[in-house]
């Protein structure tokens, strides 16, 4: 394969996500080379074609269910073989489980936890070591504003994203010396298939808007990004509300 040194190499895990697609399109305009991981080969092929038209110089795809922890190492080896050095990594997969279902079933709670926390943390452990060896690169992971404070309407999802955010905080400090930049992304509400069942209010943003923010944050290696930016203020206020009042709010 041809390795033009000026074009970035990008690994995207959960590449069929609407937010990940929007981010990938920004990199495609930079003629990036991609390694895309997700569950469905057909969906991956659709995204590959799109990125190629948009200017990507190379797109390899890899089908894997990320909850299958045993598959992680082989996938990373394939990504390294295809890309060589990995300049930018985006971990985007996740599920917005049904909170009521989780309350009623231990199994449902643990399944959500496994997808959004355990499997992601497992993957990040391998990725961190890889990037540390490579001494450089950007590692961006999509967490959520939901991880900033537990709310009755989605605390199972929120707790998993909160765990992820804290894990990333530690990782950022550890990898700093190796020159690896860890970016925690906290989107607010985004109009994607994940939220298709929700009524859209003015606080919803498009995946395009969020994807542009993520791309910019990855390029600059920012630590924690809220997207759209006003969520930083919204969450600042929400975190400041004293607990006895907060638990009475219909959130």
């Amino acid at each position: 394969m041809s390795t033009a040194t000026t074009t970035p190499t990008v690994l995207i895990i959960g590449a069929t996500s609407a937010i990940a697609t929007a981010t990938a399109r920004c990199y495609a305009a930079d003629r990036a080379r991609f390694f895309l991981v997700a569950r469905s080969p057909e969906r991956l092929a659709a995204i590959r074609d799109d990125l190629l038209v948009r200017g990507a110089t190379q797109v390899d795809t890899y089908a894997l269910d990320l909850t299958d922890l045993d598959g992680h190492a082989a996938m990373l080896a394939a990504a390294k073989a295809a890309l060589g050095r990995i300049d930018a990594t985006l971990v985007a997969y996740g599920t917005l489980g049904n909170q009521q279902q989780s309350e009623a079933s231990v199994e449902a709670t643990l399944r959500e936890w496994h997808t959004n926390a355990t499997s992601t943390i497992a993957l990040l452990t391998l990725l961190a070591n890889e990037l540390e060896r490579q001494r450089g690169g950007t590692l961006a992971v999509i967490s959520s504003v939901a991880g900033d404070r537990g709310r009755r309407s989605n605390y199972v999802y929120g707790a998993a994203k909160g765990a992820l955010s804290i894990f990333l905080q530690g990782l950022r400090a550890r990898l700093r010396k190796a020159g690896v930049r860890v970016v925690t992304i906290k989107p607010g509400m985004v109009d994607t298939p994940m939220t298709a069942h929700l009524r859209k209010g003015p606080l919803f943003a498009s995946p395009e808007r969020v994807g542009r923010d993520i791309y910019a944050a990855m390029r600059r290696g920012r630590a924690v990004v809220y997207t759209p930016g006003y969520w930083r203020l919204v969450m600042f206020v929400l975190r400041a509300i004293p607990e006895p009042i907060f638990i009475r709010l219909p959130l």
Partner: protein, 448 residues
């Protein structure tokens, strides 16, 4: 804060407000739901840039195709682009203008989908040379409620091809389409604006510009009456040919927005008159020529997101008709007279001469003549009565109304506008329908 691409499932005029029973997002073209099993009738929904009820399906299901927004293939020798039907025209421009390609036909907003552009067989300022959007569509895939997936082109399923272009989303779901882009040298338009003071002057400018200018359109102030009939600005332009100018424009995201409904008072006859007068006089010279980026030339309104909210909660009506040009143009004069007499204002009135390139669709709106597009703040029964009167003038002239802009035409007007409607009806998918279609095919033509 407002994002132009988050959906509310209304139409652009915000009238009528009709709720679907369900909205089903379509995200992957190989994973379609069983259309026959969805609640009620189904209708594809792009970005709701149609004004009335042709993109609405009260009590039925809307198929939200905005998730089908991927490119599939581009041939940089021929300019042929294959893309999914929910791709918006602004996405095509953002990717392809920097590479020297432009849309073959574009409407006055770039926030419309390829599927919507086909379903309304839209027209642009270059109609007199390029015809409608459908003329630049090579083929598409149409999914019927039987689950059949048909590739339609002038050679395959040619009848369904002609029914679907301008087919108002009623013949099935378009999943992808192939369109031909056209080469450009840079991202700029060489534009000339000329003031005119009568209908004859407008017609003379149109005729004189047709051969030399790819794009022509006029903005008209219809409040000034008394023998002079119309005054306005004629705008004509060509793609700038010089290879030195840049193909890439600096990134410019939306800066202005109308975040809430303004009270209905804001746009009344007085403010509209004032706006029109200021607009008319903003250009001092009778002629101004300049080279400008393509965006302000084609999409002056897109910089103000949700400008439709200026008309307040009641919404507004857009009225677009085409009337054949003839010796004395009595129909156009009569339409303008009636509007003036009724004292109901139009904020933005657009005039354009259509050329004689045949439109490919059975229900395509464009045909030779002059097209007028006017906005009316909805002022109850008086507005509706006025528009009914205008319909009568249009019908008598042998003209037509544009379904993409319509919320109220009668079945009689629809049938007079589209003499091939019965032939078209044979291709309507039995599980597809829209509020518009039920209205214009019902007996009294008013009930939804």
């Amino acid at each position: 804060m407002l994002d132009p691409t988050v959906r509310e499932y209304g139409s652009w005029g915000r009238y009528p407000r009709l709720r679907p029973r369900a909205v089903v997002p379509i995200t992957w073209r190989d994973e379609l739901p069983d259309l026959a099993a969805l609640p009620g009738s189904v209708l594809p929904y792009g970005y709701g840039r149609s004004y009335g009820d042709s993109c609405l399906n009260e009590g039925g299901t809307l198929l939200d195709v905005s998730g089908l927004n991927r490119f599939i293939h581009f041939d940089d020798q021929t300019g042929v682009l294959r893309c999914e039907a929910g791709v918006r025209l602004d996405q095509i421009l953002a990717t392809f203008v920097p590479r020297g390609w432009f849309l073959p036909v574009t409407p006055g907003t770039k926030f419309v989908s390829v599927g919507g552009a086909i379903a309304n067989d839209i027209h642009g300022k270059n109609h007199h040379v390029a015809g409608t959007f459908g003329r630049h569509v090579l083929r598409f895939e149409l999914v019927r409620s039987t689950g059949e997936r048909l590739i339609c082109s002038p050679a395959e399923h040619a009848d369904l091809f002609r029914a679907t272009i301008g087919g108002l989303g009623l013949t099935g779901l378009i999943t992808w389409a192939e369109i031909r882009l056209k080469p450009i040298a840079n991202a700029f338009i060489d534009e000339e604006q000329i003031r005119f003071e009568s209908l004859d002057e407008f017609l003379a400018l149109s005729a004189e510009s047709a051969d030399r200018y790819e794009y022509t359109v006029a903005w008209v102030d219809c409040f000034v009456g008394g023998g002079r009939y119309v005054r306005g600005h004629f705008m004509r332009g060509n793609h700038d040919p010089s290879p030195e100018r840049p193909k890439r424009l600096p990134d410019r995201t939306l800066r202005l927005a109308v975040p809430v409904d303004l009270p209905g008072i804001v746009l009344n006859t007085v403010t509209i008159r004032a706006f029109n007068t200021v607009y008319y006089h903003r250009q001092r010279a009778a002629r101004v020529r300049k080279v400008i980026p393509y965006e302000p030339f084609f999409y002056p309104l897109d910089t103000i997101h949700a400008w439709n909210r200026m008309y307040g909660r009641r919404g507004f009506l857009q009225y677009q008709c085409v009337v054949p040009t003839d010796g004395d143009n009595a129909a156009i004069k009569e339409i303008l007279d009636r509007i003036r007499r009724a004292g109901q204002g139009s904020f933005l009135t657009v005039f354009k001469t259509f050329g004689d390139q045949p439109s490919p669709g059975m229900l395509s709106f464009p045909r030779p003549g002059v097209t007028l597009a006017l906005d009316f703040p909805l002022q109850g029964a008086a507005t509706l009565r006025l528009l009914d009167d205008l319909d009568a003038v249009v019908r008598a002239s042998g003209g037509a109304l544009y379904p993409a802009k319509d919320a109220r035409m009668s079945a009689t007007t629809f049938r007079a506008s589209f003499p091939r409607w019965q032939e078209f009806a044979r291709y309507v998918d039995p599980h597809f329908s829209s509020s518009f279609w039920r209205r214009v095919t019902s007996e009294d033509g008013r009930s939804a």
